[in-house]
């Protein structure tokens, strides 16, 4: 008996002497499970500071109720030089491994939220960061963030081939207006333009309506070109969406025409030039007039007065020059713009690529 006791004690002593056994540290378990995002692309703010974030990898849109995580820091957003290097350092990698996918300004706090993909491999991870009025860069951890979500329906499929890889769609832009979230999407097979509108708060079975959008093109030929940037905008007192397509017609269509299954024909009010992809579009007021500000991959930043939108004649004939329709001016001082959003009444906030290659966050007076 004593032998056994002593043998047991010896065993325990050996174990204790071996040192504390490593236990994998996990994150502090939160009362609420945060969103399990596999990717992060488009961002858009909704009512009460809800942040919509598109996870295109899993065809899901999350509505993140940031709550406390959105507050407690200096309001506004301060410029940050070489922010790509700073974000990379914070994420434990180098600038070549990160890609900024979108940026949106919180409507109340005016902090800038930046969506980033970290890594180039299939295990690339999404990250959400925030810049505040003191220029402080913080990671918004997904742990414990209260959220709801909606999964976009799969692309049409005859069903016979179950090995089919389901991921075909990406999301190019999102905007919230009047209780609905509008989502513009793009297929990697069909050359088609899909605009989906989903009621928010998300209903459990509502995947939104989907419409195909056509526009009259110069030469009277229709095309199914993809939408890249759009804004909700009232023309007269009628809610519209103004959308910029690839290469680059600017089209307006009334929100009321977005009925499920409908084929909506928009009105082309400007042709802004080819070989170009629109990136971001915002609406702002200056000197009593309203303007669209639109950033592009190849045509700089355009300032488009909206006065003529209601009465603009639709472009159906060929344009004689490279551009046509509603007038616009190119803001030549804004170069290399990769992301753009409205910051406050007088300023826009941009991520611009410098000649040296670094990405700088800066605030620019609205032109």
């Amino acid at each position: 008996m004593r032998t056994r006791i002593l043998a047991t004690l010896a065993l325990l002593a050996l174990t204790a002497a071996a040192g504390p056994w490593s236990v994998a540290t996990g994150p502090v378990s939160a009362a609420v499970e945060g969103p399990q995002m596999t990717s992060i692309a488009s961002l858009a703010f909704g009512p009460d500071g809800v942040l919509f974030a598109a996870d295109t990898q899993s065809a899901t849109i999350y509505a993140l109720e940031l709550g406390d995580k959105a507050g407690g820091v200096a309001p506004g957003a301060l410029a940050v030089d070489a922010i790509d290097q700073k974000i990379a350092a914070l994420l434990g990698t180098d600038a070549k491994q990160i890609a900024v996918t979108d940026m949106a300004v919180h409507p109340r706090t005016k902090n800038a939220y930046i969506a980033v993909m970290r890594g180039q491999g299939l295990d690339a991870k999404p990250a959400l960061l925030r810049v505040d009025g003191a220029g402080k860069l913080d990671i918004i951890a997904f742990d414990g963030v209260k959220h709801t979500k909606v999964t976009l329906p799969n692309a049409p499929d005859a069903g016979t081939n179950p090995q089919r890889n389901p991921r075909q769609q990406s999301i190019t832009d999102m905007a919230f207006a009047d209780g609905r979230l509008y989502v513009a999407g793009l297929s990697n097979e069909e050359f088609a333009s899909k605009l989906r509108s989903v009621k928010y708060p998300f209903a459990s079975v509502d995947n939104g309506t989907s419409v195909e959008i056509f526009h009259g093109n110069h030469g009277q030929l229709e095309t199914r070109s993809p939408v890249f940037a759009f804004v909700p905008y009232s023309i007269g007192s009628t809610p519209h969406l103004v959308a910029a397509y690839l290469c680059t017609p600017l089209v307006k269509f009334p929100v009321a025409s977005l009925q499920p299954g409908a084929k909506v024909v928009g009105t082309t009010i400007a042709e802004l030039g080819n070989r170009n992809r629109p990136i971001d579009m915002i609406v702002y007021k200056k000197d009593g007039r309203e303007f669209l500000l639109m950033s592009n991959t190849a045509r700089g930043v355009m300032k488009i007065p909206t006065d003529g939108f209601a009465t603009a004649s639709p472009i159906t004939e060929r344009v004689a020059s490279e551009t046509g329709g509603v007038s616009f001016e190119t803001v030549s001082s804004m170069k290399g713009i990769e992301q753009l959003d409205l910051l406050d009444v007088g300023r826009t906030i941009v991520l611009a690529r410098s000649e040296g290659g670094s990405l700088n966050l800066s605030t620019v007076a609205l032109p």
Binding site: L6, L9, A10, A13, L14, A16, A17, P20, S22, A24, T25, A88, A89, L91, G92, T93, D94, G119, Q120, G121, L122, A124, A127, I139, A141, A155, P156, D157, A158, G159, T160, N161, P162, Q163, R164, N165, R167, S170, N188, E189, E190, F191, F214, G216, G219, Q220, L221, E222, T223, L246, C247, E271, N274, R275, R277, A298, T316, R318, V319, E322
Partner: protein, 393 residues
Amino acid sequence: MVRRLWFRPLVAATAVLLAAACYRPVYSSPEIRLVSPLDPKAAAFIEVTGISRAHEHALSSAPPAADGWQRVLRVSVKTEGPAANPIAVAGHYTIADGTLRFTPLFPFDPGRQYEVEFTPDAIAGVPASGTPLATTVALPPRAAASLTYVTQVFPDGDVIPENQLRIYIHFSAPMGRRGGVEHVKLLDDTGREVKDPFLPLEAEFWNGDRTRYTVFFDPGRQKRGILPNRQMGPSLVAGRTYTLAVEQDWTDANGNALRERFTRPFRVGPPDLSPIDCAQWRVMPPAPGTRAPLTVTFPESLDHGLLFRAIGVRRDGEVVTGDVRVDDEQRRWTMIPSAAWSPGRYELIALSILEDLAGNRIGRAFEVVSFARGDEKPEPAVTAIPFTLSALR
């Protein structure tokens, strides 16, 4: 009871071991190490062992704010040249049993060097007494992976129409996230690059595992009467030969360039302006009771990607599943069923999304005169071609 010979030494050994387990020196001799758990799902972390009781007590009883932890133990990416105030890698800190542990929010990159600085003097509530430690750690780099290469490009026929809409590029392994329009070139028959033939699109056009990339020709260049066509001329001209080149500097998911540059010559034929006509399809039914393939042939090449989901088989309204193949330059679709064919009435289903090489759909050409739409028939959502498998042969 008989006392064994080993009894006393065992008691002594136990006593020594127990004492050793309980005792920790007052003065610490910390060490920094990078720990890589055996479980591949567990993230690597950094530990500083040998933390004194006093330091541990100060950290546990009054845990510092995030900045405070970083002043005590700072992990940062090692950069070229001196960094005045390196930004700390974001992560989670714990202190227990004389060990301070840092787990990064995102896993450490294999092969990347991280600088670790332990500054015990930054621990509040303890008289300055510790020696700072600094070291550089790195996980072993990933084993050199074999290089990725282009396996196929579709359409794979020798001739494509002047108004070809898209090209699919298939890779042997997953590619990096960046899109590839800058790495894909169209060369004319003199070897000169055709300027801007493709739509300026990027990361949107990968499939789920990044082994297939879609490149769209700019329809504005190809469409009749459109300004870009008039200004720059079409990208493809019927009767000429072109080469599609995929440059080697396009990086894969491991950051490596492709194994080699890929080229594919092709000839260009006249534009295809007609909608797909299902009446011209030939359906060759298989023998019932077997798992022989159902074969459908088309008079023209159709879009490779869409063929895998826009065509299906139904029996009495139920979907029949199987293994789908496409070959003969995208002019033949075959399906080997999961279960043997039973006799009965079947339908071959074609969805309206199906396109040919020029983007024409069933009953609707890609280019459509839009404003005289009053009498235009709407394109069918689903086209059904019935066929019967009868038991009596």
